[in-house]
Symmetry: C2
């Protein structure tokens, strides 16, 4: 007998038939003798409607009222799923954030979980009752409803799994696991049987939208055994596990890409100590997150160019800030582009295999793809390229690192 947390997203509970399907998946675990807590999102589309109402009635709305409104989406789903479970003979009850309670800070709209009191729920689980838990929501220090922000239901599930000391936390979604890369771009992408937390964190933050980054970080911190699997099949998914439990270390786990990037080049900065600090200090103060940076000094002219990448949403703001500081920075000009994509090779094995960077750069060079910026970490190498080469780069790297599914 194990204790399992299951999480189903908005698409998986999108209508009554799908909720009935979820009930069956829960029953399977109950029939196998497990204690089960199920975390659910709002029916797909519901949250958007609620957010739209809140925005229309008042663009500058009180976040506490916003949370009161949008939290109803999950409240409806837990009621419906509990009824669906009871109808197929499974004892179940719904739990709202404030009923458990899931205590959060008071950052309405993007609250963080402080504490989950699982004592009452543990009693019910021990009696064989399924706990149907509203994701995405909690209760703040002032007794008002809080929400964890978009995608927060993954975080709810992982936090609950940690609080319940669950043996497994299964995240059901509309794909059947984590792939070596996006199958829409590379048809030969294959499903991974397992991936480490660190790798998953990189993949998630690099645009593989299977799991929310925050939930992976929390799972890693509390060592929660995660599984990403499909709501619409019964096949096993991908296990996200601690590094130590990975049996077979493949060279590379996956190729990720993030298309929402932009780059800025500041041309002809004086090559003085502290010049980079001036540029990036100003941007940081204005809450612009800079990702990768490369500085190319020119020995002849005493001038240097700095190129860096940032999110597309911040591009205009960043350009304005730099232009406003032109007299202080004394540069010659600015060049910026939205048509860039970050391509990353991710894998634990990189630590011990220095050949990864070489293979990556050679592969891209062979296809005539220029690298604007490069950055590396212990388990990934990222490069910024022209967006039009995205598909070619992903497919070439996928083959070069032996990830193609040739079955």
């Amino acid at each position: 007998m194990a204790r399992i947390v299951q999480k189903f997203g908005g698409t998986s509970v999108g209508d009554l038939d799908r909720i009935r399907n979820v009930a069956k998946k829960v029953k399977t675990e109950v029939d196998a003798g497990h204690e089960v807590a199920v975390v659910v999102s709002a029916m797909s589309g519901t949250t958007n409607q609620l957010v739209q109402w809140a925005s229309e009635i008042g663009p500058m709305h009180d976040a506490r009222e916003y949370d009161t409104i949008v939290a109803t989406g999950e409240q409806v789903t837990v009621g419906l799923l509990s009824i669906a479970l009871q109808n197929i003979g499974v004892d179940a009850r719904s739990w709202l954030g404030w009923q458990i309670p899931i205590r959060t800070d008071n950052l309405h709209g993007s609250a963080r979980i402080d504490d989950i009191d699982s004592s009452k729920m543990r009693e019910r689980l021990a009696q064989g009752q399924v706990a149907v838990v509203a994701g995405f929501q909690g209760i703040g220090p002032d007794g008002r409803i809080t929400t964890l922000g978009r995608g927060g239901s993954d975080t709810s599930a992982v936090a609950l799994a940690a609080a319940l000391d669950a043996d497994r936390c299964d995240i059901y979604t509309d794909v059947d696991g984590v792939y070596t890369t996006d199958p829409r771009i590379a048809p030969k992408a294959k499903k991974l049987d397992s991936i480490t937390f660190e790798e998953m964190l990189e993949m998630a933050s690099l645009g593989a939208k299977v799991l929310q980054t925050r939930s992976v970080a929390m799972a890693m911190r509390h060592n929660v055994n995660l599984q990403v699997r499909s709501s619409f099949s019964d096949l096993p998914g991908t296990f996200v596990v601690d590094e130590d439990t990975v049996m077979e270390k493949e060279t590379i786990s996956g190729i990720a890409y993030s298309p929402d990037e932009a780059k800025i080049t500041i041309i002809g900065l004086p090559d003085e100590p502290g010049i980079a600090a001036s540029v990036f200090g100003e941007l940081a103060q204005n809450h612009v997150n800079v990702d990768m940076i490369v500085q190319s000094a020119s020995s002849q002219s005493q001038r240097t160019d700095i190129t860096f990448s940032l999110g597309q949403a911040d591009l205009n703001k960043a350009v304005e800030i730099i232009e406003k500081n032109k007299s202080a920075l004394k540069y010659d000009g600015i060049d910026s582009s939205e048509n860039v994509t970050k391509i990353s090779v991710v894998g634990m094995a990189m630590r011990s295999q220095p050949g990864v960077a070489k293979t990556m750069f050679e592969t891209l060079a062979e296809k005539g793809i220029n690298l604007a910026v490069i950055s590396t970490s212990e388990i990934k190498i990222s490069v910024l390229i022209d967006s039009e080469y995205t598909e070619l780069a992903v497919r070439s790297l996928h083959s070069a690192f032996g990830l193609d599914d040739d079955s």
Copy 2:
């Protein structure tokens, strides 16, 4: 400065524009220096959608889950109205049933209010903050969400007015007050400036659907000053008041009718003591509510006929019960009809004016309308007639009692 409870029903908050309109009505009272608590229903249509989902996913659903689901309707409205108020410069916050709390018994789906703790709300009201309260909902002894049943928001408003010692409880609706009869049948019906609790109770239970019977009874018990008024105009409505505060007692307050009636005649019962008890005891045991009864003994045959009225929904069940007991009751036959309507003349003044019954019967006789059954109370006289005479009867009585608006 007064303390006022306002209540707006589903039609009054049916879309964002109407919610903004409600915000303006609240602001008017705030600007006049009053402390204001607003009770709102779900946006019209919302509750039906939620009820439909709950019924579709499981016809025999757990009432606790049903309440969890349907209570979300009001939760959305309080959030939206609070934002709308803040946007026009009125300090406001939403209160859910469990946040106040409004404590109820555990009869989920039709819970009764045990107690309202108004201490926190009074503090906020004193600070000039408007309390936006979710109607229809409370919290049960087990910490689960309860609902008060259909139309329960009127009850929420009256109970809150009593708990807050409010000076007035204004029920905003889509009509501009209580009328002497249904204006759709009698175009000369006029709006009453005031009506007593007792009269309103009779009118409400007789089909004038302006106020829920239960809320009127509660207002009477706690002596809450009620006003029924329009959401869509600024005119004063109808005050529902204590008998002692009515200045001018008109003869009759109104003519009510209830079309959902049925009648059964049991023909040729033995004229023995206890025979009526046998008939109605059996029906009562099976939860059939009998309304008016008439027994017509025949001196020659030692046989008697009993005619009685009941709700249409109970007709088939009642006939079955009587037929099952034919051998014990020893009657000759049964006659039943759904095509009957109860017409009632309601008014406090009836107590002192014995001529009311005479005028009523004469008026109906002149039009050739037969009375199947008659019943009287201190403040009303009801008769059962063929449904096809409904409009004629209502209009004739309305004229005969001098209620026509000839302005």
